[in-house]
Symmetry: C2
Subunit: 216 residues, 2 copies
DNA sequence: TTCTGCGCAATGATCGATCATTGCGCAAAA
DNA sequence: TTTTGCGCAATGATCGATCATTGCGCAGAA
């Protein structure tokens, strides 16, 4: 289940590191929406060539963090509040499907994993650690998607990039974090008793994220 | 709605043409599952350089048509029947969501478009033109997803590559086409009367595609 | 015989350079 | 003044070459 802990020797492809660098810059707001991202400039900045930067940018375009037009280059996407909210119905639908598929096949091990995520969420909540709250919250939902046993569903869900968007929403629009750890407990309980309503419960739960108001 | 018919001067990026070429080769079965796709070989074959081939292959990896490992290259994915069926619950969930969102906002123009797609489907069915059946069937569902008004939902749905997988399923596993045009009419009717059950109807409809048996 | 490690060929990853398109300023014509 | 092109600078798209990793066969040790 968990990764075998081997001494990772920094062997990730350049492109991945570049992607992470650009993502961080956009999410942290160091690069403003609408701003051009010039492939060569980034390449020079990082001491690499244009090619891997290009590849990284294409991946980020897929994610929706940047947008590009042929022969006109890439720029940081500007996210309206409306854009940021669009993700929730999609997530909700995917996770509803995941719950439907997971319900008859979820086992004790997974349920225990869900419990652990909830516990971690409580802890992060108590610490007031927003980053940890996001991470553990996402991990909880990821666990359910994985429990569906549908690899395609998982990859589609992952491609949404929940963590990035959540972080960004909070920074840009000061969306309320609303990660009340307790909200997750009924979901685990529903899975445990194989409640057919679990999927609806999960959908409403996710839609609740999207419905929450902006802070003043 | 439809593309403004301008004199297209073949100005698509190379990468797109390459992607299409490779897709066609894989879907038609000219390149067998498991077969290596060597970037330079394809490049030479098409008289281009390695870079755009590489980009095209990454897009196809995203689509799931090929798979790659770092430093080991790309190969044609081998699709088990199980893999091919995984798409249906995902599609069903996405389209259920689309229908939910579309229900309160679908207008007569879109409903008319749905009617046209159904009519085209009938015609293709009568002609026994499998390709046209797939295309119009997909167009019908695409119309609903577009009617949701959720751009992210649309792009996620498009990223599934329904047409490619349907075509491939039929060729490789001889999945039954089952595109009974009449099956689509109740869906349009449900939209027309704003039936809250429309989304469930659509979900079941899509799941029906996945449930259909293989031909002998 | 079986196991180990070296060395080469193939090829993915990256680079530096070139080609082609786009955007824009400026000058001349209307 | 407004419009129309021209020409250049910036930069994305593509290219050809090089660097680095992988897979594999073979010689020699166990």
């Amino acid at each position: 289940m968990t990764e075998p802990p081997r001494p990772t020797l920094e062997r990730r492809p350049l492109r991945e590191q570049i992607r992470q660098y650009v993502t961080e810059a956009v999410v942290a707001g160091r690069w403003a929406p609408g701003e051009r991202i010039v492939e060569r400039r980034v390449a020079v900045e990082l001491g690499v060539s244009q090619a891997p930067v290009r590849e990284a940018l294409r991946e980020l375009e897929q994610l929706g963090l940047v947008e590009s037009e042929p022969n006109k280059g890439v720029r940081v996407r500007s996210f309206s509040e409306h854009d940021l909210r669009e993700i929730y119905p999609v997530r909700a639908g995917l996770e509803e499907t995941a719950a439907r598929l997971a319900l008859p096949r979820i086992d004790d091990e997974r349920l225990a994993a869900l419990d652990r995520h909830v516990a971690a969420l409580h802890a992060a909540s108590a610490d007031g650690d927003a980053g940890a709250q996001i991470r553990h919250g996402v991990a909880f939902h990821r666990e359910i998607v994985a429990a569906s046993g549908n690899a395609l569903l998982r990859s589609v869900w992952e491609a949404l990039g929940i963590e990035v968007w959540t972080t960004l929403s909070i920074r840009v629009y000061r969306m309320d974090l609303q990660e009340n750890a307790a909200d997750h407990e009924p979901i685990v309980a529903a899975f445990r008793r194989r409640d057919p309503a679990t999927s609806d419960l999960l959908r409403e739960h996710v839609l609740g994220y999207g419905g929450c108001a902006l802070l003043p």
